[in-house]
C-alpha cells in the first residue's frame, strides 16, 4: 500500500466500480472488418463501367513528389494479391522517383482476370521541376503510352492507335485522384497550391471528375490503428480535411483518407477497408464522368476505335435520350 502512495492500512471508500477491458481491435471487430473487406472486393470485381462505354476505367494519380501515388498502386495491387507486394518504385527522393508515365493493370489474385480499372501513375509535381503543366491535357486525352518517358524536350507522341487524332474514350482519363500526404498537406507552398489550382481548372474545363486521396493518415499525431475504423470522426483527421478544403477548395466529401502499405509484410483488414473504399469511390467518380461525357462524341469515338460493343452501347444511350 505504501508503494501506491496510500498512507493508511484501513481506508474507507465511497464507491467501487468494476470495468471490463475491451480491446479496440478485438477479434469481433476484425471479423467484422474482414466481412466489410470481402463485400468491397466483391463490389469492385463486379464493377462494370457506366453503360458499358469502356471496358476499363482509367484513374490518374497526380500529386506532389513523395505523396504516395506509386505506394497507393502498390497497396491496391497487394490487396488483390493477398500479400504485400512492390512493383512500382517508391521513395522520398525530392526530385521524385517515378520518371515514366505508367499505366498499371491489376490482376485479381482469385481468378487471374484483370480488374476493370487501370491506375495511371505520373511524375510528382514540384514547384520547379517535376511534371510539366503542359503535359496534362495530353495525359487527360490519353496520348501517352505506358512507360512513356517524360522529357524536357516536350517531344510528345500524337494520338495513339487512331488516325483522326481524336482521342478515344477508352484511352482518356476517366477520373483523377490528387494524392497528398496527410501530414504535409497543410504546409503546401504557395506555388504548389497555385499549380494545383491551375491543374484543377484544366480538369474542370475537360469535365474530368476528381477526388483527393490523403495518404499516411496513420502517421498523423494522435492517430492509432484502432482509430482507422472510424477515421473520419477523428479530430486530427477532420482538421486535415478542413485544411485541404480551405487551401485547395475541394469539397469535404471528395476527400478520402488512406494509409498505404510501406513496411508491412502482411495485409491488415482495417487498412484494406480504407483503400478499397477509396477505390470504390474513384470507380463511382469514373462512372459520373462517363455519364456526363457528351454522347455524340462517344459514338464517334467508339466507331473510330472500331469497338463495336462500345459503339452499340453508346448509340443505344444516345437513342434513349433522343426519343421521348
Amino acid at each position: 500500500m505504501e508503494k501506491l502512495g496510500l498512507s493508511q492500512i484501513y481506508i474507507s471508500f465511497q464507491d467501487c466500480e468494476v470495468f471490463r477491458c475491451e480491446d479496440l481491435l478485438d477479434k469481433r471487430k476484425m471479423s467484422g472488418l474482414t466481412e466489410l473487406k470481402e463485400s468491397l472486393l466483391c463490389a469492385i470485381r463486379n464493377y462494370i463501367p457506366y453503360g458499358g462505354l469502356v471496358h476499363k476505367v482509367r484513374i490518374l494519380l497526380l500529386g506532389p513528389v513523395g505523396a504516395g501515388k506509386s505506394s497507393f498502386f502498390n497497396s491496391v495491387r497487394s490487396i488483390f494479391r493477398g500479400h504485400v507486394t512492390n512493383q512500382a518504385l517508391v521513395g522520398s527522393d525530392p526530385t521524385g522517383t517515378s520518371e515514366k508515365y505508367r499505366t498499371y493493370f491489376i490482376k485479381d489474385g482469385k481468378d487471374n482476370n484483370t480488374l476493370p480499372f487501370i491506375l495511371c501513375d505520373t511524375m510528382g509535381l514540384s514547384e520547379k521541376e517535376g511534371l510539366d503543366m503542359d503535359d496534362i491535357p495530353y495525359i487527360l486525352e490519353g496520348h501517352f503510352p505506358d512507360k512513356y518517358q517524360f522529357n524536357s524536350l516536350k517531344l510528345r507522341p500524337k494520338g495513339i492507335g487512331n488516325h483522326t487524332g481524336c482521342p478515344l474514350l477508352k484511352d482518356r482519363i476517366h477520373c483523377v485522384a490528387f494524392v497528398f500526404s496527410a501530414n504535409s498537406v497543410g504546409q503546401l507552398s504557395h506555388e504548389m497550391v497555385e499549380k494545383i489550382k491551375r491543374i484543377r481548372r484544366e480538369l474542370i474545363k475537360s469535365d474530368v471528375v476528381h477526388v483527393v486521396l490523403l495518404t499516411h493518415v496513420d502517421t498523423l499525431d494522435l492517430i492509432t490503428k484502432g482509430d482507422l475504423i472510424d477515421v473520419y470522426k477523428c479530430v486530427p483527421v477532420k482538421l486535415q480535411l478542413e485544411a485541404v478544403h480551405r487551401k485547395l477548395g475541394f469539397a469535404l466529401s471528395d476527400i478520402f483518407v488512406v494509409s498505404n502499405y510501406t513496411s508491412e509484410w502482411e495485409l491488415e483488414p482495417v487498412i484494406d477497408v480504407l483503400i478499397l473504399s477509396a477505390l470504390k469511390e474513384m470507380l463511382r467518380a469514373a462512372d459520373d464522368f462517363l455519364e456526363n461525357f457528351p454522347l455524340e462524341k462517344t459514338v464517334v469515338n467508339a466507331l473510330n476505335g472500331e469497338d463495336a460493343a462500345a459503339a452499340a452501347a453508346a448509340a443505344k444511350s444516345l437513342q434513349s435520350c433522343v426519343t421521348p
Binding site: 475541394f250 469539397a251 469535404l252 466529401s253 462512372d287
Partner: protein
C-alpha cells in the same frame, strides 16, 4: 460464456446507425444470466431507453422502447411508443421497421408486448420453454416467418446511449425513412401540368459557391442511392461551374429519365465582368442557350453564336427559377449583389416563370421541418435569413426552401433527403402554377 453480444460487428453497426448513431451497452443476455423475466427486470431497471433483441432462426428482430423503465416491476399501463425492427441474415442484410404503441407485461416468466392498435395481436416470449409467439403484423411488416412452435435462441437487452434529444426522436428515426420513401414516390410520379412538356426545366441561379451544382449532385445521389459527383463542385474565388449544363436525372442506375431537368449556371459575382453575365439570363430563360455553352463573363451570348437556339419552344424554356443562396451569408449580402439580383429578377418576372428560393448549407437538418415533416418549423420561418429572402426578392414564404446538400457527408441521410425532395416537390408545384397560367395556344 462471456457477456458479449451475439450480434456481429456489422450487425451492431447497422442497429446503431438505424437508431441514430447511438451506442449499445449489453445489460442482459438470456443464455448467461438465465431465462427469467425477473432476472431481466433486475438488470434493466432504471436504465433509460433500451433495445430488446431477439434471435430467431434466420432473422434478428428488436424492440426499441423509449419510456423510462423506472419501475419495471409493474406493467407499463400507458402505451409506450416503441418501434420494432428486423434484420434478415441474408446477403442484403435488409432492415425493416414498424412503429407500434405497445404495453409490456411480465407475467409468469412471459414477456409480452401488447399493441394498442392491433387488439388481438401480441409478441410474446415464454422464457421457460424459449418459445416465441410472433404476431401476424410481424409477418407482414417485418417479414419474419412464424411457425406453430417457434423457439427463440437468445434474448439480449441493451441500454441505448447517446440519444441526442428525446423530443421527436422516435418520430425522426422511424417516420423519416417512411416519409422519405413516400416523397420519392411522389417525385417519381410527377408529371407536368396537362403534359404541356415532358420535362420541366428548373434554372439554378445564385452567387458563386452557393451550392447550385451541389444541389444537382445531391438530387442525383438520392435517385442513385449513393453519393455521386457528376457536377464538379468546390470553392474558389471564381465560379467552379463554367458551362451552362442542362442535367437530366435517371431514376436509378439504368432507369427512366425523371420528368425534370436541372439547369446549372455560372455563379453570380457582385463585381462587373466576373461571374455570370446578367445579359445572358434573358437568353437562358427563353431557352436559347444550348447545353454545355461555355460562359464568358465579359460577353453575353449573342444570336450569332453557332449553337444559339433561334426558335426555342415551350419545352426549351426555363419553367422555374430557383434562386440559390448559402443560408449563412444571407444576412450579409452586399448591396451590389442585391442590386444584381433585383435586376435579374426583373427579367424573370418579365418571362413570367415560377420563382422559388433555395437556401443551402443549413446547420441542423432536424430543426427545419416540423415533426410530421409536412411544413417548416415556425422557428425556422421566423429566422432572419428567410425573412430577408422574402423582403428582398418578394418570394412567398411557402416557396422558400431550406436544404443541406451532400457536400461534406459520406453517407445518405433520410432527413437530408426529405429536405431535398420536399424542395423539389415545391418547385414542381410552382412550375405547375406557371404552366397552368400560360395562355392557351
Amino acid at each position: 460464456m462471456a457477456v458479449t453480444t451475439t450480434l456481429t460487428w456489422n450487425e451492431e453497426r447497422s442497429f446503431q446507425k438505424l437508431l441514430g448513431n447511438v451506442s449499445l451497452r449489453l445489460l442482459y443476455k438470456s443464455s448467461v444470466h438465465g431465462r427469467s423475466t425477473v432476472e431481466m427486470q433486475n438488470r434493466c431497471r432504471c436504465q433509460g431507453p433500451i433495445v430488446t433483441v431477439i434471435y430467431h432462426s434466420n432473422s434478428i428482430f428488436g424492440v426499441f422502447t423509449l419510456g423510462h423503465s423506472s419501475d419495471m416491476s409493474e406493467s407499463f399501463i400507458e402505451p409506450n411508443a416503441s418501434f420494432f425492427f428486423s434484420l434478415q441474415k441474408n446477403e442484403t442484410m435488409e432492415m425493416k421497421t414498424v412503429v407500434l404503441n405497445s404495453t409490456v407485461t411480465f407475467y409468469h416468466n412471459n414477456l409480452t408486448f401488447y399493441f394498442s392498435s392491433y387488439y388481438n395481436q401480441k409478441l410474446s416470449l415464454n422464457f421457460e420453454e424459449s418459445r416465441i409467439y410472433i404476431p401476424r403484423i410481424f409477418e407482414e411488416e417485418l417479414i419474419v416467418k412464424s411457425h406453430a412452435k417457434s423457439t427463440f435462441l437468445e434474448c439480449e437487452v441493451f441500454r441505448v446511449e447517446g440519444i441526442k434529444d428525446e423530443a421527436g426522436y422516435i418520430n425522426r428515426i422511424t417516420r423519416a425513412t417512411q416519409h422519405r420513401n413516400s416523397l420519392l414516390a411522389d417525385v417519381r410520379a410527377y408529371s407536368p401540368y396537362a403534359d404541356l412538356v415532358s420535362e420541366i426545366r428548373i434554372l439554378l441561379l445564385g452567387p458563386v459557391g452557393s451550392g447550385k451544382s451541389s444541389f444537382f449532385n445531391s438530387v442525383k445521389s438520392i435517385f442513385q442511392g449513393h453519393l455521386t459527383r457528376q457536377a464538379i463542385v468546390g470553392s474558389d474565388v471564381t465560379s467552379i461551374t463554367e458551362q451552362y449544363r442542362i442535367y437530366s436525372i435517371k431514376d436509378g442506375k439504368n432507369g427512366q429519365s425523371l420528368p425534370f431537368m436541372l439547369c446549372d449556371s455560372m455563379g453570380l459575382d457582385e463585381k462587373e465582368g466576373v461571374g455570370l453575365c446578367v445579359d445572358d439570363i434573358p437568353h437562358i430563360l427563353k431557352g436559347c442557350v444550348p447545353d454545355r455553352y461555355e460562359f464568358s463573363p465579359q460577353k453575353p451570348i449573342t444570336p450569332k453564336h453557332p449553337t444559339f437556339i433561334t426558335s426555342p419552344s415551350l419545352k426549351d424554356r426555363i419553367h422555374c427559377v430557383a434562386y440559390v443562396f448559402d443560408i449563412n451569408s444571407m444576412d450579409n449580402l452586399s448591396s451590389k449583389m442585391v442590386a444584381k439580383l433585383k435586376q435579374i429578377q426583373k427579367e424573370v418576372i418579365n418571362c413570367g416563370v415560377a420563382q422559388v428560393a433555395l437556401l443551402t448549407k443549413v446547420k441542423n437538418c432536424n430543426e427545419v421541418l416540423q415533426d410530421n415533416f409536412l411544413k417548416m418549423n415556425k422557428a425556422m420561418i421566423s429566422q432572419s435569413q428567410i425573412q430577408n429572402v422574402n423582403k428582398i426578392l418578394g418570394i412567398p414564404l411557402s416557396r422558400i426552401l431550406v436544404v443541406d446538400n451532400y457536400a461534406s457527408e459520406r453517407e445518405m441521410d433520410p432527413v437530408k433527403d426529405i429536405l431535398i425532395l420536399s424542395a423539389l416537390k415545391q418547385m414542381f408545384r410552382a412550375t405547375d402554377d406557371f404552366l397552368e397560367d400560360l395562355p392557351l395556344e
